[in-house]
Amino acid sequence: MTSTYGYRGRALDLITKYGIKVGDRIMVRNERSSFVGVLMPRSELDDDAHIVLKLDDGYNLGISIDSLQIEKIPQEEVSPPPPKAPTSRPGLPRVSIISTGGTIASRVDYRTGAVSPALSAEDLYQSVPELGELAEIRTEILFSLLSENIVPENWTAMAKSIERHIKNGAHGVVVTHGTDTMGYTAAALSFALRNLPVPVILVGSQRSSDRPSSDAYLNLKGAVLATAKAPFAEVGVLMHSTSSDDELVIHRGTRVRKMHTSRRDAFVSINSSPLARVVDGRIETLGKYKERGGDLELKAGFDEDVVLIKSFPGIPTDIFDPIIHRGFHGIVLEGTGLGHVPERIFPAIKRAVQSGIAVVMTSQCIYGRVNMNVYSTGRELLSLGVIPGGDMLPETALVKLMWVLAQTRDLEEVRRLFLTNIAGELSDRSEYEEVWHP
């Protein structure tokens, strides 16, 4: 959807013929009625037999293009009022906000209905004025990506940008991010930013910020507060902790997973307690954390030749052939239960390991740890050279394997690094929780 705003085919021909574009005020007439209004965009799903008009009472309606006459009504261009200059009290901690996409801050043009991102410091201060009372804010628009389109290269760029902001004296860095793959990015930054001296908080919204009920404002305020004041220096993901607009929760970047398609509290810490809660503007830490301070060391490379494969009944025996053939460097398996795959793919796994591919086992149970010593299937897999993923999330294991493989291809060294706890992604104790699922 570029300059044609969803118009295509016959409808596009018609507006082109009349020299009309979206946002123009027009009068349209057919044998039944006539309307005056502003031409509006169409959705990708709409047909090419109608145009959309916004009437003066604010309503949109679609009008059939059959025998439609259009007339353009000249009008003055109205320029939007200039945004207020940012106001921020001096002496506040400096926080950087790096935006990568998503709609954590956006404004609606009620004339055309277009939703556009509001990402400059000015825009942010204007849509969330309270930010000015929490911190002195610098902003950077790094990408404008839907999170499903983010690739490992983008993680590297984010890590480098964060490094720059920290070197320039930021007390903390907020990264705004679409929620779909925010968990993957959080894990990637957790590995890339070694010896992190300040908090880095990823934040998103499940309801886009053009609506008054958006969770964006509370989340963004919480993230700025946490980066300015939190005692920990780790990568975290901040979102709502319930469906209500009150308590926020900061999850450790390597332990967080999006567990619901749409709820505000979709993000959940798996196999670990969250880093902190934010209640009534106070940060309450939960459990151990890395304190602020130290010299940042960047290890921001990721090997993209890694795949994540889920085991299932009937998984084909030749499933790894194309992977081996194409020369991938790593496979993360999402096995069943304690970390199992059907016996019949053992030969395939054996071939993969022999051809130099690192094979890691995690569990599709999501909760709990793999243990491959209990049943013979597990023991056999271990003997084939499969690396057990402990209580690591499958997605975190994927990111970690990418990170490890960017440093070494030596399978022994890969195994050693992979089994070492780098950023809280592994633990050897499984704590008891009365309610272990969200």
């Binding site: 799903l45 109608h50 959309v52």
Partner: protein, 630 residues
């Protein structure tokens, strides 16, 4: 007043539709009063750019920071109402009812329906906007030979139900949120109070003709917009009863006329435009006897005041029955300042405020005979906001009638609610696909248009022999569908069924029995079983009473609880014979007339269990037999 003085009235009718599911999710369209299963807390964040001007910005201040509690039920509200899941596709049943109504109102349906988001910041929608779609435009209905234009028909989601409210929070229930409703707006073509009532009635009857609208309190709401020559367009919200419409129109016309008179008087006096010269006058009330002021001062509050030069005596002027210009000022103070009300020197000394205090406060501002001073007691911020609103409203009095949104009081007078909304803040609901209104869809609806109520009344008198009055009562009631079904499919006598709905139900309603909650199928079952002779007609009120009081229980349970189960006619006959034999003296003496005497004894045994007429027939037979035997 009718027909004169440039009175222009438009009506906007909001009617809930009786669909099985809500407009954007699969939840049932039921309201509930049992304990909610959960509550979530939310805040809304409107940005000032969405409101803009001074008035609205001020109102926004008072709304800002309010916390909203939403109560829901696991089995009848879902993540969509909670704004935790995107809306599902537009409910097809609701669209087809809306199109049906549009065609009955001679309107032109749109070619393609687009759902919009209309910004609403009072928390009544969890999203912060109401979803609404224009379905049709440009129709008309006839009123006594005059065409009244129908400008627009929209299909929208109803808002959440307000349960309670305090200064800093509002509790809403999600059950009502998402129930489909149609909003029908007439042009400002109505010229009298009586005409307004007729037009509303007519549109109401067209809605009823679909048989797919909700009935009962709160399911229909009329808003009126009223203006007179030289006045202003004022919107009046929430007129729930049709009968109140004429009063609302007349009182608003009265209000606008009086306000114009007050404007003329202010001009004659040369009153200056009031300024916000708000002063702290707490010092004058340190030793006051006024309980209200004392209370405010004790809780750390202040007394603040502002002079209105040239307004002396005018605040006392009545503009609607029991409401004065002072009341208007007070309404604004309440809405913008959140205060309980105002004091003004036109109504003082009173409320424990002495003549001396009035004098000293007037002196403070150099106010004379022709001037007034308005005072407010409370927290400093509230006082200031309240008095700024008072000054703004007083200033508007110099120009006549301010355009604004008002709410109807139960007696037809109105009070200030909020400023007139600017052009609605609307943008597309991109989560809901548009719907093309195809020729096929329209043809299908056209060929199934429901019978208009006028035609139905006529048919009922011809086909079922009902009196025109009874026919119109049934047709207007929610029971015409069951009525026809019982008469046509089950062969019940029309007069018996009609009488049940009109007289029996009316009687029960007077007793305070909520017959509207009775299940349609249960109603049918009762009447069919009576018809079969399973129990007596006389028992019908008793059964409905029991069913209404024992919500959720069935007809058979009612029958056994009331021990109404069918009586074997042979045993009735045996009882009749027994009675006749016991009273042979009387039978011999009085002949057939003895039946009415002995009827009482038989009734004692079978009242409510056997139809009175059946008892009478049996007894007559036995009396005759006994007489013949002799």
């Amino acid at each position: 007043m009718s027909g004169s003085g440039g009175v222009r009235v438009g009506i906007e009718i909001h009617q809930q539709l009786d669909t099985s599911e809500k407009l954007f999710c699969g939840c049932p369209t039921v309201l509930r009063d049992d304990e909610p299963h959960f509550t979530v807390v939310r805040r809304l964040k409107p940005t000032t750019s969405e409101l803009g001007e001074v008035d609205r910005a001020a109102l926004f201040e008072s709304e800002k920071g309010k916390v909203f509690y939403y109560q829901g039920y696991k089995d009848s509200t879902c993540l969509v109402e909670l704004d935790e899941e995107p809306p599902h596709a537009l409910n097809g049943e609701a669209v087809s009812i809306a199109l049906t109504v549009a065609l009955l109102l001679n309107m032109k349906p749109v070619d393609e329906i687009h759902v919009m988001r209309k910004i609403v910041i009072d928390g009544s929608n969890t999203t912060g906007f109401q979803r609404t779609a224009k379905i049709a435009l440009d129709g008309w209905i006839d009123d006594a030979g005059q065409r009244i234009s129908i400008q627009s028909l929209c299909l929208e989601e109803d808002a959440a139900r307000k349960i309670s409210e305090t200064e800093d929070h509002v509790v809403y229930r999600l059950d009502r949120l998402g129930i489909p409703l149609v909003e029908i707006s007439t042009g400002p073509d109505i010229h009298s109070a009586e005409q307004a009532r007729r037009v509303a009635l007519k549109i109401g009857r067209i809605l009823k003709a679909t048989g797919k609208i909700k009935r009962g309190l709160g399911t229909i709401r009329q808003d009126l917009n009223i203006s007179i020559e030289g006045g202003a367009r004022v919107e009046i919200k929430g007129v729930q009863e049709l009968g109140l419409i004429p009063a609302v129109v007349e009182y608003e016309v009265m209000r606008q006329r009086r306000l114009l008179e007050i404007r003329d008087e202010l001009k004659r006096r040369g009153a200056p435009r009031p300024k916000s010269e708000i002063s702290d006058v707490t010092d004058l009330f340190i030793h006051t006897e006024s309980k209200l002021i004392k209370k405010a001062l004790q809780s750390g509050g202040k007394v603040m005041a502002v002079p209105l030069f040239g307004f002396g005596g005018l605040l006392r002027e009545e503009i609607q029955p029991g409401r004065r210009l002072g009341t208007e000022l007070s309404d604004h103070a309440k809405v913008y300042g959140g205060v309980g009300g105002i004091f003004h020197t036109d109504e003082l000394p009173a409320f424990g405020i002495t003549d001396a205090e009035v004098k000293s406060i007037k002196e403070r501002f150099g106010a004379g005979e022709d001037d007034s001073v308005v005072m407010v007691a409370g927290g400093e911020r509230s006082c200031k906001n309240a008095l700024i609103a008072v000054v703004r409203r007083a200033e508007a009095a110099l120009d006549g009638v301010p355009p604004e949104v008002r709410a109807a009081n139960p007696d037809g007078t109105t009070h200030f609610m909020r400023p007139m909304p600017g052009s609605a803040r609307m943008y597309p609901e991109t989560d809901v696909p548009s719907i093309v209104v195809t020729r096929e869809i329209l043809e299908k609806i056209k060929s199934n248009l429901p019978e208009l109520l006028e035609n139905k009344i006529e048919r009922y008198t011809k086909e079922f022999g009902l009196s025109p009055d009874l026919a119109s009562l049934i047709v207007d009631s929610p029971y015409s569908v069951i009525f026809e079904d019982l008469v046509k499919s089950y062969g019940l006598p029309p007069s018996f069924v009609a009488a049940t709905f009109e007289y029996t139900f009316k009687m029960l309603r007077r007793e305070g029995i909520d017959v509207d909650i009775l299940d349609r199928n249960a109603i049918k079952e009762v009447l069919i079983r009576v018809h079969k002779g399973e129990f007596a007609k006389e028992a019908v009120p008793e059964i409905f009473r029991w069913l209404a009081l024992n919500k959720g229980r069935g007809v058979s349970e009612a029958v056994s609880a009331l021990s109404l189960s069918a009586v074997d006619l042979d045993s009735v006959r045996r009882s009749a014979i027994e009675i006749v034999e016991k009273n042979m003296e009387t039978v011999r003496r009085e002949g057939e007339r003895a039946v009415s005497r002995l009827m009482g004894d038989l009734m004692k045994l079978y009242r409510g269990k056997v139809d009175g007429k059946v008892l009478h027939d049996l007894l007559s037979e036995e009396v005759r037999r006994a007489l013949q035997k002799r």
